[in-house]
């Protein structure tokens, strides 16, 4: 589950939106050696030629930092994303839906692992990344700071949230950093199952009772705008977009991907028989796209900055899971050491 709203910075400092931070003055230009300049130009040429960068290759510090931030936020989002859906495993309406949901939540854990591994190739440790998440220094997708109130939310998350994630993730399969691109290919293959199972479970509910249909519509109403915000702030207000574009990490702008998502979703909503809650949503013949209404960015930034309905609960649950598992990790390591020592003694 990836969103381009990762173009926000980590850290305790508030991301108060586009207007909050005063523009920094011109930074002093550091003097660089000839050798350094050659490395930079070789690197930039490789990016311009659509080449791939591998872990052992030389890379500018800004490239490494951008990747570490984006990949670790992406990984965090996968494992925090397990929580809202995990809540429904024990309450799934049938054994079939329960098995599907368990498989999906397990996939999200796997996606987290692929991504943490990709980030580790950049020299940051798994423990450090988790520590940043658990202490609130690192961000994760704010979509998971909203509650999953009914069973229909589980379907809508698959259809819309994972649908938005797919839009974001497909271009990343061609991103300039090899390990990230390879992880994304794997993730995208699995993500398609996530979206289809969600949509299909909603189809079943729409063929059910009036009450079930109302439940689906209610869930769509609550999630639609949040999904549009997942693509991140408008291009003009997205501070990290430019650097991601320059380095071949990001291939499309936030607004372009958001438009693609809207255009793709309208027909799916029609087939499903739900209304997307936007009176301004209409086909624009001249643009060849659907127009849509204004997104509430204040709410987006409030949630990013920690004041969403579930921010505290998600982090608390995540920290507790980590703490509860500590003795298992310690015991496994102690066991492995003991056995290695015993084998060494026997061999001597």
């Amino acid at each position: 589950m990836y969103t381009q709203s990762f173009s926000v910075s980590d850290g305790q400092g508030k991301n108060a939106g586009p207007n909050a931070e005063p523009k920094a003055g011109p930074k002093p230009v550091p003097v660089i050696s000839n050798e350094e300049a050659e490395k930079i130009s070789a690197f930039e040429q490789k990016i311009a030629d659509d080449g791939r960068i591998e872990p052992q290759d030389w890379m500018p510090e800004a490239y490494r930092k951008t990747l570490v931030r984006q990949i670790s936020q992406h990984a965090h989002s996968e494992i925090v994303g397990m929580l809202p859906e995990g809540n429904w495993i024990s309450r799934a309406p049938s054994l079939k839906r329960k098995a599907i949901l368990i498989a999906k939540v397990q996939d999200e854990g796997g996606h987290g692992l692929y991504l943490y591994s990709a980030a580790e190739t950049l020299g940051v440790s798994r423990d450090k990344m988790l520590d940043d998440l658990h202490t609130g220094r690192a961000k994760y997708s704010s979509i998971f700071n909203y509650p999953t109130l009914t069973w229909a939310d589980v379907g809508v998350i698959g259809w819309l949230v994972d649908g938005a994630a797919i839009m974001n993730q497909i271009p990343l399969c061609r991103c300039s950093y090899g390990p990230y691109a390879r992880a994304m290919i794997r993730v995208c293959k699995e993500e398609s199952f996530h979206q289809r199972q969600g949509y299909e479970s909603l189809l079943v509910m729409m063929r059910g009772t009036e009450e079930q249909r109302a439940m689906v519509q209610d869930a769509v109403n609550r999630w639609w705008w949040k999904c549009l915000a997942m693509f991140g702030p408008p291009d003009a207000d997205s501070p990290n977009s430019a650097i991601g574009m320059r380095y071949g990490i990001k291939r499309f702008s936030n607004d372009d991907l958001r438009q693609k998502f809207v255009d793709a979703t309208v027909a799916q909503a029609e087939v499903l028989g739900v209304t997307l809650p936007d009176p301004d949503l209409k086909w624009n013949e001249a643009r060849g796209h659907y127009d849509y209404g204004a997104i509430d960015w204040d709410e987006f930034w409030r949630t990013v900055n920690g004041d969403g309905p579930c921010n505290k609960e998600r982090l608390t649950t995540r920290v507790k899971a980590d703490r509860d598992g500590q003795w298992v990790r310690d015991a496994a390591l102690a066991h492995a050491r003991k056995r290695a020592a015993r084998e060494a003694k026997e061999a001597a």
Partner: protein
């Protein structure tokens, strides 16, 4: 236990997708020991019948060539085009060779 040793060591995972094909690198994971690495590789990398056999190897045990040696190691092959079959012109009459 020192902090550096608290993290499980890193393993590289190689999966054979079917009999007759080679094991291919597919990613990495942390595990306390080899049996656990195998079990976790199964859970993480073969949930959809992607494999029939798994190798795991400690990442620290892999010896790799350095990117700095790329030129020295691989460029000498570039001007030896006579090592390729297409270097040789054979009359069409000969047929497939």
């Amino acid at each position: 236990m020192s902090n550096a040793l608290k993290e499980w060591p890193l393993w590289e995972v190689f999966v054979r997708s079917k009999q007759g094909l080679e094991h291919k690198h597919c990613g990495s994971l942390h595990a306390a020991d080899a049996p656990q690495a195998l079990q976790m590789a199964r859970d993480v990398y073969t949930r959809r019948q992607e494999g029939v056999s798994i190798w795991v190897v400690r990442s620290a045990d892999i010896v790799a060539s350095s990117p700095d040696d790329k030129g020295e190691l691989f460029e000498p092959a570039a001007d030896k085009i006579y090592r390729h079959p297409t270097f040789y012109d054979i009359p069409d009459d000969v047929g497939h060779m």
